[in-house]
Chain length 236, copies 2
């Protein structure tokens, strides 16, 4: 207050520190780093901004909103997919399975991406390129157009759902021992249900809790779906 009246009050000009300019690229980088390290829910616009040494408002000059950022994350992940060689009509079923395995691998390598991807038609570049590849494999398998198109929706949906499930369950970094203990508890929970009302559940308690964390359950899923697709192929 006691400043002299004639003195314009704005003396403390902290010079804007020279920083690397903000870009879409750097924002997605930071978001990806955080998501891999702390999971989807722990990633907010504020945290990303903090990671970049700025405020949340700065991000909105490069990204429309969090939804768009999610799409960019999906694209970044899709970019990591190693897509195979030419579609091979003799081998299409195995190629479909490989596609799904590769998709799951990438989603596991980028936890949280599944959460961003689910329920979104992938309209970004690399995601669409991988869909193109999948469609080519399906057509090589002599699937009718409509079946191929819907399958290109069904397959990623399954993989994404599986990955999403894993994301939710792996929330807050369980150790393998934790998982094993939890699965054990669940098995005895199933086994101890009243046998008159849950006869089959009790009988299958072991099977129901088998392969919870591993790949067997996923392999089962892609086997079922691929076999189901094969039944729709046109005769050669």
């Amino acid at each position: 207050m006691s400043q002299s009246p004639w003195q314009p009050i704005s003396p403390p000009k902290p010079p804007r520190p020279a920083k690397a300019p903000l870009t879409r690229e750097r924002i997605v980088d930071a978001a990806m780093r955080l998501i891999v390290e702390h999971g989807y829910d722990a990633v907010s616009m504020r945290k990303i901004a903090q990671e970049l040494g700025t405020g949340p408002a700065s991000l909105y000059a490069h990204v429309a909103n969090k939804g768009e950022l999610d799409q960019l994350l999906v694209d970044r992940a899709a970019q990591q997919m190693k897509l195979s060689d030419e579609p091979d009509p003799a081998n299409w079923q195995e190629q479909v399975k490989d596609y799904m395995r590769e998709m799951l691998r990438v989603m596991r390598a980028n936890p949280g991406v599944a959460r961003a991807a689910i329920g979104q038609v992938p309209l970004v570049e690399h995601a669409m390129l991988s869909t193109e590849k999948l469609l080519a494999i399906l057509k090589a398998g002599r699937l009718p157009d409509q079946a191929a198109a819907w399958a290109a929706d069904l397959l990623p949906l399954y993989v994404t759902a599986v990955s999403f499930e894993e994301t939710v369950q792996n929330a807050s970094n369980w150790t393998p021992a934790d998982v094993e203990r939890f699965v054990g508890e669940m098995r005895t929970f199933f086994a101890d249900l009243p046998a008159d009302r849950f006869p089959v559940t009790v009988a299958l308690a072991t099977a129901l809790t088998a392969g919870a964390g591993g790949d067997e359950r996923f392999e089962f899923g892609i086997q079922v779906i691929t076999a189901g697709l094969a039944s729709l192929a046109e005769p050669s």
Copy 2:
């Protein structure tokens, strides 16, 4: 009373209005009403409390947290599933499909429940009873124990994922006209892609955008999965 003038100030005692007591039941009722009417994202502890004429803190005497409330909502929905008659070995594939149709029906009738259910092992009463039914059908279909168990995981996962997808896309009450316009835009978007890099996508533009809102795509999915399961049945 008759306290001296320097009495501690706390005179205005508005009498607590006599209200119907809060119960778990009434909380779930209110949440269900709101979720059906406004969708999952519009439902918060505050809104639920407001609907009940109280504050959010009051809810926590009956419900541990929002996650538990989600589980209760899932159970409430599972309760609405009309589960069929006895498992019929001759008809098990159709029974599996009916089960999935019924599950989707209930999830559509309770938008947002899919969001609460995905990635959660259903350990609440009615959800488990429906799983028991499903397992019985699968065993009637002569599936090996392990296949039946994993299928009982795969099938609800698919239905939930489909419903979740619909939930996300139907966010903010699109009219059928809106949907049609959007689908049309997407079709031309696919059709106008560079044909050298997206040959199959361009060729299948129509098929890719067919049956977006209807049941055909879902019917395709359950057909594929059921056929795939059938291929795993043990010979009778």
